[in-house]
Amino acid sequence: MPDHQRRVYNRLAVLRAERGLSRKQLADKLGINYQTIGYIERGDYNPSLELALTIAELFRLPIEAIFSLKPMTPLSEEVFRDPPAEPR
Protein backbone atom coordinates (compact mmCIF):
# COMPACT_ATOMS: atom_id res chain seq x y z
CA MET A 1 0.00 0.00 0.00
CA PRO A 2 1.43 3.43 -0.88
CA ASP A 3 2.62 5.39 2.16
CA HIS A 4 0.23 8.29 1.55
CA GLN A 5 -2.85 6.05 1.84
CA ARG A 6 -4.80 5.64 5.04
CA ARG A 7 -5.24 2.12 6.28
CA VAL A 8 -8.71 0.68 5.87
CA TYR A 9 -9.53 -1.92 8.54
CA ASN A 10 -11.84 -4.79 7.70
CA ARG A 11 -13.54 -7.93 8.97
CA LEU A 12 -13.06 -9.89 5.80
CA ALA A 13 -11.12 -12.76 7.37
CA VAL A 14 -13.75 -13.27 10.10
CA LEU A 15 -16.66 -13.13 7.67
CA ARG A 16 -14.94 -15.46 5.26
CA ALA A 17 -14.21 -17.97 8.02
CA GLU A 18 -17.79 -17.67 9.29
CA ARG A 19 -19.16 -18.54 5.85
CA GLY A 20 -16.61 -21.34 5.40
CA LEU A 21 -15.07 -19.78 2.32
CA SER A 22 -11.45 -20.14 1.30
CA ARG A 23 -9.62 -17.16 -0.16
CA LYS A 24 -9.74 -18.85 -3.55
CA GLN A 25 -13.50 -19.39 -3.36
CA LEU A 26 -14.18 -15.83 -2.29
CA ALA A 27 -11.82 -14.48 -4.96
CA ASP A 28 -13.60 -16.51 -7.63
CA LYS A 29 -16.96 -15.11 -6.55
CA LEU A 30 -15.54 -11.59 -6.72
CA GLY A 31 -13.60 -12.11 -9.95
CA ILE A 32 -10.22 -11.18 -8.47
CA ASN A 33 -6.98 -13.04 -7.69
CA TYR A 34 -6.89 -14.97 -4.43
CA GLN A 35 -3.74 -13.15 -3.28
CA THR A 36 -5.68 -9.89 -3.36
CA ILE A 37 -8.04 -11.24 -0.68
CA GLY A 38 -5.01 -11.94 1.52
CA TYR A 39 -3.62 -8.46 0.94
CA ILE A 40 -6.99 -6.86 1.80
CA GLU A 41 -7.36 -9.00 4.94
CA ARG A 42 -3.87 -8.01 6.07
CA GLY A 43 -4.60 -4.32 5.41
CA ASP A 44 -1.87 -4.10 2.78
CA TYR A 45 -4.31 -3.17 0.03
CA ASN A 46 -7.34 -0.92 0.16
CA PRO A 47 -10.01 -2.17 -2.21
CA SER A 48 -11.69 0.19 -4.64
CA LEU A 49 -15.15 1.46 -3.75
CA GLU A 50 -16.58 -0.84 -6.41
CA LEU A 51 -14.88 -3.91 -4.96
CA ALA A 52 -15.80 -2.94 -1.38
CA LEU A 53 -19.46 -2.56 -2.40
CA THR A 54 -19.36 -5.90 -4.23
CA ILE A 55 -17.94 -7.57 -1.10
CA ALA A 56 -20.67 -5.97 1.04
CA GLU A 57 -23.31 -7.15 -1.41
CA LEU A 58 -21.88 -10.67 -1.40
CA PHE A 59 -21.98 -10.88 2.40
CA ARG A 60 -25.33 -9.05 2.52
CA LEU A 61 -24.01 -6.60 5.05
CA PRO A 62 -23.73 -2.82 5.06
CA ILE A 63 -20.31 -1.70 3.90
CA GLU A 64 -19.50 -0.10 7.28
CA ALA A 65 -19.93 -3.52 8.95
CA ILE A 66 -17.02 -4.81 6.86
CA PHE A 67 -14.73 -1.81 6.29
CA SER A 68 -13.76 1.01 8.60
CA LEU A 69 -11.14 3.72 8.92
CA LYS A 70 -10.85 2.89 12.63
CA PRO A 71 -9.68 -0.44 14.07
CA MET A 72 -12.68 -2.76 14.24
CA THR A 73 -14.02 -4.24 17.43
CA PRO A 74 -14.84 -7.97 17.56
CA LEU A 75 -18.25 -8.77 16.05
CA SER A 76 -19.39 -10.46 19.27
CA GLU A 77 -18.77 -7.23 21.14
CA GLU A 78 -20.90 -5.33 18.64
CA VAL A 79 -23.72 -7.87 18.77
CA PHE A 80 -23.91 -8.00 22.57
CA ARG A 81 -23.18 -4.34 23.20
CA ASP A 82 -25.55 -2.72 25.74
CA PRO A 83 -28.45 -1.08 23.94
CA PRO A 84 -28.54 2.71 24.19
CA ALA A 85 -30.50 4.01 27.17
CA GLU A 86 -34.13 4.71 26.32
CA PRO A 87 -35.17 8.35 26.47
CA ARG A 88 -37.34 9.18 29.46
Partner: protein, 158 residues
Protein backbone atom coordinates in the same frame (compact mmCIF):
# COMPACT_ATOMS: atom_id res chain seq x y z
CA UNK B 1 11.46 -23.35 -15.18
CA UNK B 2 9.77 -25.90 -12.93
CA UNK B 3 6.60 -25.12 -11.00
CA UNK B 4 8.40 -25.45 -7.66
CA UNK B 5 11.04 -22.92 -8.69
CA UNK B 6 8.32 -20.61 -10.03
CA UNK B 7 6.39 -20.85 -6.76
CA UNK B 8 9.55 -20.20 -4.81
CA UNK B 9 10.21 -17.06 -6.85
CA UNK B 10 6.60 -15.92 -6.43
CA UNK B 11 6.86 -16.23 -2.64
CA UNK B 12 10.30 -14.62 -2.27
CA UNK B 13 10.24 -12.24 0.71
CA UNK B 14 10.56 -8.58 -0.14
CA UNK B 15 13.96 -8.18 1.55
CA UNK B 16 15.42 -10.89 -0.67
CA UNK B 17 13.70 -9.50 -3.76
CA UNK B 18 15.16 -6.08 -3.05
CA UNK B 19 18.63 -7.57 -2.71
CA UNK B 20 18.21 -9.28 -6.09
CA UNK B 21 17.02 -6.02 -7.68
CA UNK B 22 20.06 -4.20 -6.27
CA UNK B 23 22.35 -6.90 -7.71
CA UNK B 24 20.57 -6.72 -11.06
CA UNK B 25 20.96 -2.94 -11.23
CA UNK B 26 24.55 -2.78 -10.00
CA UNK B 27 25.90 -5.92 -11.70
CA UNK B 28 26.22 -4.64 -15.25
CA UNK B 29 27.88 -1.27 -14.43
CA UNK B 30 30.33 -3.12 -12.14
CA UNK B 31 31.13 -5.64 -14.89
CA UNK B 32 31.67 -2.86 -17.47
CA UNK B 33 33.85 -0.86 -15.04
CA UNK B 34 35.91 -3.98 -14.30
CA UNK B 35 36.29 -4.64 -18.03
CA UNK B 36 37.42 -1.05 -18.64
CA UNK B 37 39.96 -1.28 -15.82
CA UNK B 38 41.29 -4.70 -16.86
CA UNK B 39 41.68 -3.66 -20.51
CA UNK B 40 44.62 -1.48 -19.54
CA UNK B 41 46.44 -4.32 -17.79
CA UNK B 42 48.67 -6.94 -19.31
CA UNK B 43 46.23 -9.72 -18.45
CA UNK B 44 45.31 -12.30 -21.07
CA UNK B 45 42.28 -11.24 -23.15
CA UNK B 46 40.47 -14.50 -22.48
CA UNK B 47 40.98 -14.09 -18.76
CA UNK B 48 39.54 -10.56 -18.94
CA UNK B 49 36.56 -11.90 -20.86
CA UNK B 50 36.09 -14.66 -18.28
CA UNK B 51 36.13 -12.15 -15.41
CA UNK B 52 33.66 -9.94 -17.28
CA UNK B 53 31.29 -12.84 -17.93
CA UNK B 54 31.63 -14.02 -14.34
CA UNK B 55 30.62 -10.57 -13.10
CA UNK B 56 27.80 -10.43 -15.62
CA UNK B 57 26.36 -13.77 -14.57
CA UNK B 58 24.65 -12.57 -11.33
CA UNK B 59 23.08 -9.70 -13.29
CA UNK B 60 21.62 -12.05 -15.86
CA UNK B 61 20.41 -14.46 -13.18
CA UNK B 62 18.76 -11.75 -11.11
CA UNK B 63 17.21 -10.16 -14.20
CA UNK B 64 15.71 -13.55 -15.04
CA UNK B 65 14.31 -13.87 -11.50
CA UNK B 66 12.87 -10.35 -11.69
CA UNK B 67 11.30 -11.09 -15.04
CA UNK B 68 9.84 -14.37 -13.74
CA UNK B 69 8.48 -12.65 -10.64
CA UNK B 70 6.58 -10.04 -12.66
CA UNK B 71 5.78 -12.25 -15.64
CA UNK B 72 2.29 -11.75 -16.99
CA UNK B 73 1.64 -8.77 -14.75
CA UNK B 74 3.91 -6.11 -16.24
CA UNK B 75 3.27 -7.08 -19.84
CA UNK B 76 -0.43 -7.71 -19.14
CA UNK B 77 -0.26 -11.25 -20.54
CA UNK B 78 -1.83 -12.82 -17.47
CA UNK B 79 -5.39 -13.70 -18.33
CA UNK B 80 -6.91 -11.85 -15.42
CA UNK B 81 -5.28 -8.79 -13.91
CA UNK B 82 -7.40 -7.54 -11.04
CA UNK B 83 -7.48 -4.02 -9.65
CA UNK B 84 -4.53 -4.63 -7.29
CA UNK B 85 -2.40 -6.00 -10.16
CA UNK B 86 -3.26 -2.98 -12.29
CA UNK B 87 -2.52 -0.58 -9.45
CA UNK B 88 0.84 -2.29 -8.77
CA UNK B 89 1.70 -2.19 -12.46
CA UNK B 90 1.00 1.52 -12.54
CA UNK B 91 3.18 2.09 -9.46
CA UNK B 92 5.98 -0.05 -10.96
CA UNK B 93 5.96 1.96 -14.22
CA UNK B 94 5.91 5.25 -12.29
CA UNK B 95 8.87 4.16 -10.15
CA UNK B 96 10.73 2.94 -13.27
CA UNK B 97 10.28 6.38 -14.77
CA UNK B 98 11.66 8.03 -11.64
CA UNK B 99 14.66 5.67 -11.51
CA UNK B 100 15.35 6.17 -15.22
CA UNK B 101 15.09 9.95 -14.85
CA UNK B 102 17.50 9.89 -11.89
CA UNK B 103 20.03 7.77 -13.82
CA UNK B 104 19.81 9.96 -16.94
CA UNK B 105 20.17 13.17 -14.92
CA UNK B 106 23.15 11.74 -13.04
CA UNK B 107 24.80 10.51 -16.27
CA UNK B 108 24.23 13.88 -17.97
CA UNK B 109 25.59 15.78 -14.96
CA UNK B 110 28.70 13.58 -14.73
CA UNK B 111 29.35 13.98 -18.48
CA UNK B 112 28.85 17.73 -18.23
CA UNK B 113 31.28 18.05 -15.30
CA UNK B 114 33.81 15.85 -17.12
CA UNK B 115 33.59 17.94 -20.30
CA UNK B 116 33.65 21.33 -18.59
CA UNK B 117 36.78 20.24 -16.72
CA UNK B 118 38.68 20.45 -20.00
CA UNK B 119 38.39 16.77 -20.92
CA UNK B 120 37.18 15.47 -24.22
CA UNK B 121 34.88 12.55 -24.83
CA UNK B 122 35.56 10.22 -27.71
CA UNK B 123 32.36 8.61 -28.88
CA UNK B 124 33.14 5.54 -30.92
CA UNK B 125 31.74 2.03 -31.14
CA UNK B 126 33.88 0.85 -28.20
CA UNK B 127 32.64 3.60 -25.90
CA UNK B 128 29.09 3.53 -27.04
CA UNK B 129 28.31 -0.18 -26.73
CA UNK B 130 28.19 -0.30 -22.89
CA UNK B 131 25.58 2.48 -22.94
CA UNK B 132 23.67 0.81 -25.76
CA UNK B 133 23.74 -2.52 -23.91
CA UNK B 134 22.54 -0.81 -20.73
CA UNK B 135 19.54 0.60 -22.60
CA UNK B 136 18.81 -2.74 -24.29
CA UNK B 137 19.11 -4.75 -21.05
CA UNK B 138 17.60 -2.43 -18.46
CA UNK B 139 14.94 -0.43 -20.23
CA UNK B 140 12.61 -3.41 -20.76
CA UNK B 141 13.53 -4.96 -17.40
CA UNK B 142 13.09 -1.90 -15.17
CA UNK B 143 9.30 -2.18 -14.65
CA UNK B 144 9.63 -5.86 -13.67
CA UNK B 145 12.46 -5.05 -11.26
CA UNK B 146 10.47 -2.19 -9.75
CA UNK B 147 7.44 -4.44 -9.28
CA UNK B 148 9.65 -6.92 -7.43
CA UNK B 149 10.96 -3.99 -5.38
CA UNK B 150 7.62 -2.50 -4.30
CA UNK B 151 5.33 -5.47 -3.75
CA UNK B 152 4.90 -6.46 -0.12
CA UNK B 153 5.29 -10.07 1.03
CA UNK B 154 2.57 -12.44 -0.11
CA UNK B 155 0.09 -13.34 2.62
CA UNK B 156 0.36 -16.88 3.90
CA UNK B 157 -2.19 -19.19 2.29
CA UNK B 158 -5.36 -19.73 4.28
Amino acid sequence: MSTTTSNRIEYLPRSRRRLLVAIALAGYPVAVAALAALKHTSLNRWLILAVFLLLLLPTLATLAVGYRYARGRIDGRRARLDERDLSLRQQAYALSHRVLAAILIAATAITEIYLTSGNTLLLDANNFWPAAMWVIVYLPALPSLMLAWIETDQPADA
